[in-house]
């Protein structure tokens, strides 16, 4: 672990200024991932700029009916917030499916988005990894990769993004609010915040150097929409997703008025299933229609020798999630007797 300096910022301006004047610095929130990576020399910042004293700890209802979640809100506080539980159950469920109670108490909303992959090669500086050290190669491709990506990976990187929360945010059409000292504030869609690895797996997100995640903005839920998050994992708690799905559905006259599906554990970013959504929108969500839509989405999958099961797993999760939502959504066709 490399010695580092520590700066405590109390305002966004102060944080941005500290970043500008300390080359090689990193922001720190809850530190549940960054500190581990520093201990293993994966992250070697010269300076840590602590953002936890910034006044970014509120969850506020917006006049539009949406929600503004500031970046410093802990995963626990976000998960149990009454408005999150009632309006965005997928988000609450995703948060509670992540990490452990202890970690969720410390981890922040902004930090959750910016956590790094748990690829074992990324976390071990004695091995090659293009994400950690561009140009050194990807050891996972021919190595231990059961947990790695099946969608959107490149020859340079097959890592997955580990966040559960980000998957729900992608499906809920959330936006991420960013701040930097030079350009002020901008917003990007949550579904586009994380990148695919392409030629530059070292860049996880579209964040610019020095930019700070200040908030997550949740739009008002689509009328009549229901949502859920479902995650498959190796153990019942404290395990990353082998695959997960966040699903949002609104029906009208038995047809799909709005649907959003996002997969976790399959790609370098939450995978918004736009192909499946397009096919389902306006359709009667029969099991057959859902299966075809999901299969069309997953036709793009390029599994590796040891992770082909993820494709079947994702398909099962998505079909089950939509079927579950169809049963609970207002405007659902009357339940038919089970064969």
């Amino acid at each position: 672990m490399k010695p580092f300096a520590y700066v405590r910022a109390t305002s966004l301006q102060e944080a941005a200024a500290a970043y500008a004047s300390h080359p090689g610095s990193r922001y720190i929130g809850g530190g549940t991932n960054l500190v581990d990576l520093m201990k293993h020399d994966v992250e070697t910042p010269d300076t840590l700029i602590d953002l936890t004293r910034l006044p970014l700890h509120d969850i506020r209802e917006l006049p539009t009916g949406g929600l503004r979640v500031e970046a410093g809100v802990s995963n626990t506080d976000l998960a149990v917030h009454p408005l999150v539980r009632t309006r965005y159950p997928a988000l609450s469920q995703a948060l509670l499916a992540g990490a452990s109670g202890q970690l969720r108490n410390v981890a922040t909303t902004g930090g959750n988005l910016l956590q790094r992959t748990r690829c074992p090669y990324f976390q071990d500086v004695s091995k090659p990894c293009n994400k950690r050290e561009p140009g050194t190669g990807c050891a996972a491709r021919d190595g231990v990769h059961r947990d790695h990506a099946v969608l959107g990976h490149s020859e340079h990187c097959i890592a997955t993004h580990p966040s559960d929360m980000a998957v729900a945010l992608a499906a809920l059409d959330a936006e991420i609010e960013l701040y930097d000292g030079e350009h002020g504030t901008r917003r990007v869609a949550a579904a586009g915040f994380h990148r695919l690895p392409g030629e530059h797996p070292e860049r996880d997100t579209v964040l610019r150097p020095g930019e700070i995640v200040t908030a997550v903005l949740l739009p008002p839920p689509a009328p009549g929409a229901v949502s859920l998050y479902r995650k498959a994992r190796d153990r019942a708690s404290y395990a990353f997703a082998l695959a997960s799905v966040a699903a949002v559905l609104a029906l009208h006259d038995g047809r799909v008025r709005h649907v959003a599906l996002a997969f976790g554990g399959l790609a370098h970013r939450p995978w918004r299933a736009t192909t499946a959504e397009e096919r389902l929108t306006g359709a009667v969500p029969t099991d057959e229609a859902v299966r075809e839509a999901v299969d069309a989405e997953l036709a793009a999958a390029r599994p590796l020798p040891d992770n082909a099961f993820k494709v079947a797993l994702a398909r099962n999760l998505a079909r089950d999630a939509v079927a579950t939502l169809v049963r609970s959504a207002p405007g659902a066709p009357p339940a038919r007797p089970q064969p």
Binding site: A232, S237, A239
Partner: protein, 703 residues
């Protein structure tokens, strides 16, 4: 003599753990929590190649780190004396037998400084091709003389091949158990303090036996046993991987002696997989021959496993088959391949845990083939004497465990698998066995003038409640209330005793404590008038009695029942209920015994469903390096667990009538869960753990 004849027997009572309060309040200090004045900190440097040799070590950047005291390398580390265990010959030569082998040690004023310095040590290597992947047909597989525990690697009775050929019903199956890691809560750590003036080394070590640590350190550092004190007062779990000294304590002692300062070394979690042992993977082939009524006529259990090139350790997984069932024609054999892998070692019930997974899965397959209830099949094959040795059992109540377990579990009511929505529910049963081991120990008991008693023995409490149960043994033998007895353990200055391993601790130590206290009672009975100010004492040494070969086959037995739920959408398997019934002699403390049984069952649950280490073919190390990746069961995985026992009176064990209970809880658990999985789904998976990837594939992928 202040005895109270009507004192209820302390032995067998649910006495609470005597050091529990110290532990939960943080007052109990573990090996890394001792900080002598001037203490320095060490951080080891692991090799980053799988096989080859060190060609240079550049320590210049490391020594430039502020506060660095020095860096030990194979070129300049103190030369060590003889070691029985070659994994302790650290920094003695340039060879690298596996990835993660230590090639340097940074020592600094602070932990952070040592860690930073270690990261800057530049090592160059010459690499050789490596081979780290076990296969059943590996060209270099050989049959060793012995497997772990001194068991002959190969035993044969009758003509199993002919018997198999003639058997009306045959089972021929291959099973695989992944490499597993012990991962106790407390990583290995030691604080070593060499006093040049007194020519004395004091070490606080996280160990299952301070005695063996002292012996090894004395030999390695060319000291006498009297020059070394080892203290293992509180130990945060071991499960076998602290059974004998491990590299950390040798490095700490070497560094303290070289630099003349106390040195503390606590291994980081991600070093553990390569440096302190693991359960080797085992590949099993089991063939059973039977008559149509279920009577076994033939059994072969062939195990292939890996060991390292440093030291041979052969997981004795075919050994339990020698004990379990009445089979006239039987072959049990172990084959090993020495690979460029970390050295495997003991992990809770070495041999029995993987071996009984395979055997008890095969028995379930036979029951299924024959259409016989799996409990009934086992009952029909109950032996009169131990099949391999022909010795009579000192006691064997497997059938009683199966019957009582079936009753408590409601076995008769869950013989039909069920479907609840997307979930398949099934139940399974498996038998358990673990040998009764005993080792010589000595103990001293003192009657103090204040009416209290002190018992001294260098036993180790690795979280089992050893202190408490030894106090109970003492109180019983002294015929005094439990609260009058205090027990001193975990220090080489105390009377020598065996290590905490092989489920032998309570039996071995308790025997010595019993004898010392019985002798003291006799002395007190002869004594008249007030006690002298120094009190009265008596000692015992069980070397003669413990070493005597028993004319009996002595084993604990048990039965596991499990109900699992399989999610056909996700492939997730979760246990819904687990129940174990054990016949393990007299249960000396039902409170701590139940914890041990249940702890073993939870570890078996992990072995069945969540735990595995993956050998990386390219790099030669295990891919899972922390507790986020190595999945020990979390609370949410652990269902309702019940542990029961039957009253077993066995006069051929020790004065307490006890058998070991630390390991049998893990034996058979995985088979019961695997059998329940098969019952639920109709698919037999023969490779552990039962993770969603395997389950989904078996179920045909799509739901």
């Amino acid at each position: 003599m202040p005895t109270t004849p009507d004192t209820p027997s302390a032995l067998g009572s649910p006495a609470r753990r005597s050091e529990g309060r110290e532990k939960v309040t943080g007052a109990a200090r573990y090996a890394a929590e001792h900080t002598p004045p001037g203490c320095a900190y060490a951080w080891p440097v692991p090799a980053t190649i799988a096989r080859g040799r060190v060609t240079s070590v550049d320590t210049a950047p490391a020594t430039a780190v502020p506060g660095v005291i020095g860096v030990l390398t194979p070129y300049d580390a103190p030369r060590l004396g003889a070691a029985d265990d070659p994994t302790l010959r650290l920094l003695q030569d340039l060879s690298v037998p596996h990835r993660g082998w230590y090639v340097a040690l940074a020592v600094a004023d602070t932990l952070e400084g040592a860690r930073a310095a270690a990261a800057t040590v530049r090592v160059t290597y010459e690499t050789d091709p490596h081979d780290v992947i076990l296969s059943v047909d590996h060209q270099r597989a050989y049959t060793p003389e012995e497997a772990n525990g001194g068991h002959p690697a190969h035993r044969e009775q009758g003509d199993p091949d002919a018997a198999l050929a003639a058997a009306p019903v045959r089972i021929d199956c291959a099973y695989a158990v992944a490499p597993l890691h012990n991962h106790p809560m407390e990583p290995h750590s030691a604080t070593a303090d060499w006093d040049e003036e007194r020519h004395h080394l004091t070490v606080h070590d996280s160990s299952q036996g301070a005695g063996p640590v002292r012996t090894a350190l004395a030999a390695l550092l060319k000291l006498t046993d009297e020059d070394v004190t080892v203290v293992s007062e509180h130990v945060g779990g071991g499960f076998g991987c602290k059974g004998t000294p491990r590299p950390h304590v040798v490095l700490a002692a070497m560094a303290s002696r070289r630099y003349g300062r106390p040195v503390k070394l606590a291994l980081p979690r991600n070093h553990l997989p390569a440096t302190v042992g693991h359960r080797a993977p085992t590949l099993h082939r089991i063939r059973l021959g039977a008559r149509t009524d279920g009577t076994l006529t033939a059994l072969t259990h062939e195990v292939t496993t890996h060991t390292s090139r440093v030291r041979e350790f052969v997981e004795q997984a075919a050994v339990p088959a020698r004990v379990m069932y009445a089979v006239p024609d039987m072959r049990t054999i172990h084959r090993a391949v020495a690979l460029d892998v970390p050295t495997p070692s003991w992990m809770r019930a070495p041999g029995e845990a993987p071996g009984m997974y395979a055997l008890e899965s095969a028995m379930d397959e036979l029951a299924e083939t024959l259409g016989i209830d799996p409990i009934e099949l086992r009952v029909r094959n109950e032996p009169r004497t131990e099949p391999d040795s022909g010795l009579p059992f000192s006691s064997r109540h497997l059938v009683e465990c199966l019957r009582e377990g079936a009753e408590r579990f409601g076995w008769a009511d869950c013989r039909e698998p069920r479907r609840q929505g997307p979930h398949l529910i099934g139940s399974g049963v498996a038998a358990a066995t673990y040998p009764v081991l005993v080792a010589p120990s000595t103990a001293r008991a003192h009657a103090l003038p204040d009416g209290g008693y002190l018992v001294e023995i260098n036993a180790t409490d690795i979280g089992t409640g050893a202190r408490t149960v030894l106090a109970q043994v003492a109180a019983d033998a002294l015929r005094v209330p439990l609260d009058r007895v205090s027990v001193a353990i975990g220090h080489t200055g105390l009377p020598a005793a065996s290590l905490a391993g092989g489920s032998s601790g309570t039996g071995s130590w308790g025997w010595a404590v019993h004898d010392a206290c019985t002798a003291l009672t006799a002395r007190l009975e002869r004594h008249h008038g007030p006690l002298p100010t120094v009190g009265l004492s008596a000692s015992a040494d069980t070397t003669q009695s413990a070493k005597q070969k028993s004319p009996y086959s002595r084993h604990a037995f048990g039965a596991h029942f499990a109900e699992v739920r399989v999610d056909t959408i996700t492939g997730e398997v979760r246990a819904r209920r687990m129940l174990g019934v054990f016949a393990a002699g007299r249960i000396l403390n039902p409170l701590t015994a139940r914890s041990q049984f249940k702890g073993g069952m939870v570890m078996g649950l992990g072995m069945a469903l969540t735990e595995h280490s993956t050998m990386d073919a390219e790099f030669g190390d295990f891919a899972e390096s922390d507790l986020a990746a190595y999945h020990v069961p979390a609370h949410a995985d652990v269902p309702t667990i019940e542990a029961h026992w039957i009253d077993e009176h066995d006069k051929h064990l020790n004065p307490m009538g006890s058998k070991g209970i630390g390991e049998i809880g893990i034996v058979g658990t995985a088979a019961a869960i695997g059998n329940a999985f098969c019952h639920a789904t109709g698919h037999r998976l023969r490779e552990l753990p039962l993770t969603p990837d395997r389950v989904l594939t078996a179920l045909g992928g799509a739901g």
